[in-house]
């Protein structure tokens, strides 16, 4: 070891070590850089094996020289602390730097330099790089699926207005702030539903769905005027009654026919697709799975044995099976369970299946929050004379939900990432459309571009969601 002692820097001649180190380190970087960017081999005169390891060795020695602790040079200390704490770290840092330099040129050339951006057929893509013309030509399909081109303004308009209505809550003045929950939980979903029901579809799909939604909305609104003592019975009986009333007595179907916008062409759900379908499916599943999961988690913690065990069984069942089998079930097994003349649209079946599936996960997440609350909160609420629902709505849930924001966000992210699975029932959202485009004889051989494009799209959506949930978490954090 003594022989190697001259390699260990000391403070006495700091300048010597510093300059030699920097020179050696930059030399190694320059060798790799020129090799990979300009295809210029500066050390061509050396045999292959040596020239492969030379930059690493030189750089390693260089980093070793500059590893001077407490040198009082700010930049140097920063470097040492962050990438150069010991020999092993120095080697790893060096390898990462070289890897980045080595992989940049091929990536750059594939993505930008050698890529083709213009043109509208396969012949335009002659370069060795990516063929973005492919994405450009198919962009419409990736976004809207088989939705007719001249009708696509309906999707755009719906999404823009829904986006606008969604953002509006952030600008609410103090006066309206207290209605925000009501707006987001009841009013907004209903508006969204009507947009998609009347506007994007323009036809008689979602029938049963709409009975259910309208029944639920009426009963929730009426529910505010029911004394809390009876609320439990109320919420079990009334929505079902309303549903049956609407369906079989009020001839709601005809009402819908009346209200239908005559000028709009009916686009059946089989034609929907692309990214817009991803949004529609995730949006609805998101809206439905949350309340179902909430009730399931309350049911699981309830002290009424039948409700408790039904909830446990329900949750464990959905959590135990893969989503793909659930979708299989909804597409091949579920029609067997319905009367012959009854037909539920494919998209509706999928939305119900995914909602129930994710609801089980949401339920477990919320249960975690409920369990984390100290018993004192329950006792305090009860001692104030609050009933079950009042206690949960005013005291327990606001605190519990705050605790589980990250968990719920993760479940929602999983939901968005699960939507491509609907290819099982033949609905083609963006990934499904990619696979369809890939097999088009005019455009064979561009699978890579398509997947890269879809990855970027999903990455942006999911990353934004996770960052937003992180912000929410920080915002609602309360010290205990």
């Amino acid at each position: 070891m003594n022989k190697l002692n001259f390699l260990t820097p000391n403070k006495n001649n700091i300048n010597f070590y510093l300059y030699t180190g920097i020179v050696l380190f930059s030399l190694s970087i320059i060798i790799v850089l020129s090799n990979s960017f300009f295809n210029l081999d500066l050390i061509f005169f050396l045999p292959e094996t040596i020239s492969f390891f030379l930059p690493i060795v030189i750089g390693f020695i260089g980093l070793n020289f500059v590893r001077i602790e407490h040198s009082r040079i700010k930049a140097l200390d920063l470097v040492n602390k962050n990438i150069n704490t010991n020999k092993f770290n120095a080697l790893l840092s060096l390898l990462i730097i070289f890897l980045v330099i080595k992989s940049l040129p091929p990536l750059l050339s594939w993505f930008i330099i050698d890529a083709n951006f213009s043109g509208d057929s396969k012949d335009a893509c002659s370069g060795s790089g990516a063929c973005w013309a492919y994405i450009k030509t198919w962009f419409n399909r990736f976004m809207y699926g088989m939705y007719p081109n001249e009708e696509q303004w309906r999707i755009n308009l719906s999404f823009i207005s829904l986006g606008f209505l969604g953002v509006i809550g952030f600008f609410a003045t103090e006066k309206f702030k207290k209605y925000l929950t009501l707006y987001y939980v009841v009013v907004y979903p209903v508006i969204a539903f009507f947009f998609i029901f009347f506007f994007i579809s323009g036809g008689p799909i979602f029938f049963d769905f709409s009975y259910g939604i309208i029944a639920a909305v009426i009963s929730i609104i009426l529910g505010f005027f029911i004394p809390s003592k009876f609320k439990m019975y109320y919420f079990i009986i009334v929505p079902i009654t309303f549903y049956i009333l609407l369906k079989y007595i009020f001839f709601y179907e005809e009402l819908i026919e009346l209200g239908k916008l005559e000028t709009l062409e009916w686009v059946e759900t089989g034609a929907w697709g692309g990214l817009s379908l991803t949004f529609i499916v995730s949006f609805f599943c998101l809206i439905f799975c949350f309340p179902i999961g909430l009730f399931l988690s309350l049911g699981r913690r309830s002290d009424l044995p039948i409700i408790k065990y039904i909830s446990i069984g329900f949750i464990e069942f959905w959590r135990g099976v893969p989503l793909i089998t659930v979708l299989f079930m909804s597409s091949v097994m579920f029609p067997m369970f319905l009367p012959q003349d009854m037909f539920i649209d494919k998209l509706v079946r999928v939305i119900i299946a995914i909602s129930l599936f994710e609801a089980a996960y949401v339920a477990e997440v919320i249960r975690g929050g409920l369990q984390a609350l100290p018993r004192g909160q329950y006792d305090a609420a009860k001692s104030l004379g609050m009933g079950y629902w009042k206690m949960h709505i005013l005291v327990i849930l606001p605190q519990a939900l705050k605790l589980v924001i990250p968990g719920i966000a993760n479940t929602f992210l999983a939901l968005v990432k699960d939507t491509p699975l609907i290819f099982v029932v033949g609905l083609l959202e963006i990934v499904g459309m990619l696979n369809l485009a890939k097999t088009n004889p005019e455009w064979l051989g561009f699978a890579m571009e398509g997947y890269v494009f879809a990855s970027v799209v999903f990455f942006i959506i999911c990353y934004a969601m996770s960052k937003y949930s992180y912000n929410l978490e920080q915002k609602y954090k309360t010290e205990r």
């Binding site: 704490t85 019975y233 039948i306 089998t325 369970f337 997947y451 999903f458």
Partner: protein, 381 residues
């Protein structure tokens, strides 16, 4: 019990019974109309379809039940491969996330953020349709380490040809049992006398020496069969000998392990960070070496945080392996809920069997986990 508690329960029960009754009544009517009969007899019928990749003997003349077994084994195979690699990558990346080296920490963070924000299905498609399609044809493949051939038709690996394989397997079992005894003995010794035994070294030694002994004494004999290129026709080549891993399996295992590893990495990070600093400082102050601190203080506590969510991830991986159907890897869902269902038409039976299989798997693992959690939970005073 008061009426206030009884009534909602009865109502819920009634609603559920009504729904189930409605469903089963309709199912009966529908099946009668289509001339189908409910029953599991079809499991014994001849399956008459071929499966590309199978771990056990199978061809079209075998029964549907045999096909089910093939699918189940394939699912288990890809899950086990995925779990092993996901664990390795997950631990490495998780430790890298904790590194004080900025570059390493960032690289690991970018990996985690990138791979977990992209749908698994998309990743599977990417590996299968884009990345693995860029591999060379069999005749152009360069051997890796001289014996592996990675081609567009799959990965060809050398196979072992064994004599007296059973003796070898018995020796491994014997090694595992003796390792368990050594560990028990070492723990007892530490608890009673405070002396540490180098368990790891002894275990590794046992695990290597016992099986090796069988080569000398037990008449075990292994030779390696290296895949060799073979011409099928003018332009079509393949490899003969060795084991062929189909590209579907590789793509699936790759995507599953890279995706699940991100979650395991986060678990590892959270686990190690979850051990309070005071614990490490206390351990250092009573004079333990850094290695001892890691082994005796940090790891036991970190594992308690890491293991439950990681098992959950293993379960998720197993369930996610059903995405195999998308790239035609013959797993349980594709063979049974796909091909067999199309042929027999017994939708209710087949989908229920498939779901029950997964359900049994997950519930048995979660029961095990609950037992384990109870066992290792810190009993607070």
């Amino acid at each position: 019990m008061s009426i206030k508690k009884l009534l909602p329960q009865l109502l819920t029960l009634l609603v559920i019974i009504l729904i189930f009754g409605f469903f089963s009544y309709n199912a009966q009517v529908n099946m009668e109309n289509r001339g189908l009969e409910f029953g599991f007899d079809f499991l014994a019928y001849e399956a008459s379809f071929d499966i590309q990749f199978s771990l056990i003997d199978y061809d079209g003349s075998h029964s549907y039940f045999r096909a089910y077994l093939v699918g189940l084994l394939n699912t288990i195979l890809v899950s086990v491969i995925g779990i092993i690699f996901a664990t390795i990558i997950g631990i490495v990346v998780g430790v890298a996330r904790l590194s004080k080296n900025y570059l390493i920490e960032r690289t690991a963070a970018i990996y985690v953020e990138f791979f977990r924000n992209i749908p698994l299905l998309l990743q599977i498609f990417f590996w299968y349709f884009a990345a693995l399609r860029a591999l060379p044809l069999p005749e152009n493949a360069e051997p890796i380490l001289g014996v592996f051939f990675l081609t567009i038709k799959g990965l060809f690996v050398p196979a072992f040809v064994w004599n007296n394989l059973d003796v070898f397997i018995y020796s491994i079992i014997a090694a595992i049992i003796s390792i368990v005894f050594v560990r028990l003995y070492a723990r007892k010794k530490q608890e009673n006398l405070g002396i540490q035994t180098p368990v790891l070294k002894i275990s590794i030694g046992l695990f290597i020496i016992l099986p090796l002994l069988t080569f000398v004494l037990g008449g075990v004999d292994a030779s390696v069969e290296i895949p060799a290129i073979k011409q099928l026709s003018q332009t079509s080549f393949t490899y003969e000998g060795g084991i062929k891993l189909p590209p579907e399996l590789i793509a699936l295992a790759l995507a599953l392990s890279l995706y699940t590893a991100t979650f395991i990495a986060e678990n590892v990070r959270a686990g190690v960070q979850g051990v309070s600093k005071g614990q490490k400082e206390a351990a250092a102050s009573i004079g333990l070496t850094p290695n001892q601190i890691l082994k005796l203080v940090v790891m036991p506590q970190a594992l308690r945080i890491i293991i439950p969510p990681t098992t959950n991830q293993y379960l998720n991986l197993t369930k996610n392996s059903s995405l195999a159907a998308a790239i035609a890897y013959p797993d349980l869902v594709l063979i049974f809920a796909g091909t067999a269902l199309m042929q027999t038409g017994s939708a209710i039976e087949i989908v229920s069997i498939t779901m029950l299989t997964y359900l049994t798997l997950s519930i048995s693992i979660s029961i095990l986990m609950n037992w384990y959690n109870k066992k290792i939970a810190i009993i607070e005073k």
